[in-house]
């Protein structure tokens, strides 16, 4: 996966988040404050623009993710801004200046991003946050890497990871929230999908979509 791949990923995220903006807002209206869709839409469309207009353009996958993270921090606000922003920045840092990223390196970067989210937000799995989508996705990815086909095609692996993220998001429905705004609702948070987990699932789905599109070329 090269620099263009990562730019394509962020563009795909911006696209799918814009598309699902109202859905995310609706999820946040139920157990939060009805701004998650608008927040991420503002953030990722700014990231897409930042990447397009960066001069010089980002030279490495690490540059792409770092600039994305910085832009999210600068544009989103709320809880998701610093969390996603720091995660992307950490991923960028972890990738360093490698021009090509292997699935294994990507998994490590995601792992580092998750660690930052947990350091900042102190959420454990099961607390009904974005962590509940990100953690299982990474686990699936790491496990699948062990039997990646020799031809190095990582499409199916990322597809599995995206599916795990979606399942993780779905599995937040019966949970009682212990972090973020939803926690104020106590038991009334039960029965609703966490908006941040849902957006994480979209971000991982975008990764898989991007891989499929790249493979198709």
């Amino acid at each position: 996966m090269d620099t263009a791949f990562f730019v394509a990923w962020i563009e795909e995220i911006a696209h799918v988040i814009a598309d699902q903006r109202d859905h995310l807002t609706k999820l946040d209206a139920a157990i939060g404050d009805a701004d998650h869709g608008a927040n991420l839409d503002r953030g990722f469309s700014a990231a897409r623009e930042a990447l397009a207009s960066a001069d010089p353009p980002p030279a490495t996958p690490g540059d792409v993710l770092t600039l994305t993270g910085t832009t999210l921090i600068r544009k989103v606000g709320g809880a998701s801004g610093p969390l996603y922003g720091s995660a992307f920045r950490q991923m960028g840092k972890t990738l360093g200046d490698a021009p090509e990223v292997t699935p294994a390196a990507l998994a490590m970067a995601l792992e580092a991003g998750l660690a930052v989210v947990q350091r900042l937000g102190a959420a454990e799995e099961g607390d009904k946050t974005m962590v509940d989508a990100l953690a299982p996705a990474i686990r699936t990815l790491t496990a699948a890497l062990e039997d990646t086909p020799a031809d190095g095609s990582y499409g199916p692996v990322l597809e599995d990871a995206a599916r795990a993220a979606a399942e993780g998001a779905h599995a937040t429905i019966p949970l009682l929230a212990r972090k973020g705004r939803a926690s104020y609702l106590g038991p009334r948070s039960i029965g609703h999908e966490d908006p941040g987990a849902a957006s994480t699932a979209l971000i991982l789905a975008a990764l898989s979509t991007t891989a499929a599109a790249t493979a198709a070329k």
Partner: protein
């Protein structure tokens, strides 16, 4: 949804443009979303910066001025400001004596202020933080997001602002802020939900005979839904929750706060019940405010905040203040 706006995306900017037009004593950077006193920082005075999502007006921009805040950073509706705003505001009000961040305890506010504070510290600006978490409706533990910051924010901003105006050093200003927070408790009730311009419809639906108890200031539902009741009974629920957490006695400062859509006449009815409740317990209302101070857009409902006063806090409360939303003594 009907709102007096030009579009969902321009609400915050347009309102800041209006703020600038109405208050020449403020400097309003509409693009950067930073509101400061027109005079600039005073050498040797601790600077006070607060901020948070928009939709809670007059909080915080309405409290910028002599004796209170030096800067406010409004975010998008219900979305905490970003670190850039906070860093710039911190630098703008730093008079060399350090800067106090007054932060309401929400994950987003905490994280964005933390990032800003870290970067400011790296740049050599001394920053202290007071975290406001007065809302007794929310469970407080290490394993939750903790209590929300609501009405006590105004008390912290006023009283810390008065101390800073008098020239006190940063640690004292921070410590009086923490003291006010520790002595204050709030509880909120909604008769209706609010509608954010982007969502376009109410965040929850309440029936003709229903209310939400224990609401915050972001349109989130409360802890429980309950049947509508006379003001006296609703106030008792709110005051019992406060009293259980912080036994009420002695001199108190009381805020009966409208959520944005509640007529003042009803807030005075509520105030009468709060006064009766405190009177029965031998507590005295020695200072008070009734009105819309920490709002939640067009939500109908109220919150009550009680602070147990000391002589020193009373003196600081009484000190002159000159801001768009709070003014006395000058």
């Amino acid at each position: 949804m009907k709102k007096l706006i030009n579009g969902a995306d321009s609400v915050v900017s347009d309102a800041l443009t209006g703020l600038a037009a109405a208050h020449p004593e403020l400097r309003v950077d509409v693009a950067k979303r930073i509101v400061t006193r027109a005079g600039g920082p005073r050498r040797g005075k601790v600077g006070l910066v607060s901020g948070g999502g928009s939709g809670h007006e007059p909080l915080h921009a309405g409290f910028v001025g002599h004796g209170m805040l030096d800067a406010a950073c409004p975010g998008e509706i219900f979305t905490s400001p970003v670190p850039d705003q906070l860093i710039e505001a911190t630098n703008a009000v730093n008079g060399g004596a350090g800067v106090l961040h007054i932060v309401k305890n929400y994950t987003g506010d905490v994280l964005n202020f933390e990032m800003a504070a870290e970067l400011c510290a790296e740049d050599g600006v001394e920053v202290a933080t007071v975290l406001v978490n007065d809302d007794v409706a929310v469970q407080d533990s290490l394993f939750t997001a903790g209590r929300r910051g609501t009405g006590a924010t105004l008390f912290v901003e006023k009283i810390a602002g008065a101390l800073a105006e008098g020239g006190a050093p940063l640690d004292e200003v921070a410590s009086v802020g923490n003291e006010v927070n520790a002595r204050s408790r709030s509880f909120g009730v909604a008769l209706s939900a609010c509608t954010t311009p982007t969502a376009g419809k109410p965040t929850f639906e309440l029936g003709e005979g229903e209310i939400e108890l224990g609401i915050g200031i972001h349109g989130e539902p409360g802890r429980v839904r309950a049947p509508m009741a006379p003001a006296r009974e609703i106030v008792r629920v709110a005051m019992d929750a406060i009293h259980e957490d912080l036994p009420l006695s002695g001199d108190t400062l009381v805020l009966v706060n409208g959520m944005g859509g509640t007529p003042l006449i009803e807030l005075y009815v509520v105030f009468a019940e709060v006064a009766a409740y405190l009177g029965e317990r031998g507590a005295r209302i020695s200072r008070s405010l009734v009105g819309d101070y920490v709002t939640s857009l067009d939500m109908q409902g109220f919150s009550v905040t009680v602070c147990r006063l000391s002589e020193e806090l009373t003196r600081l409360w009484d000190a002159p203040v000159q801001t768009p939303a709070l003014r006395w003594g000058r």
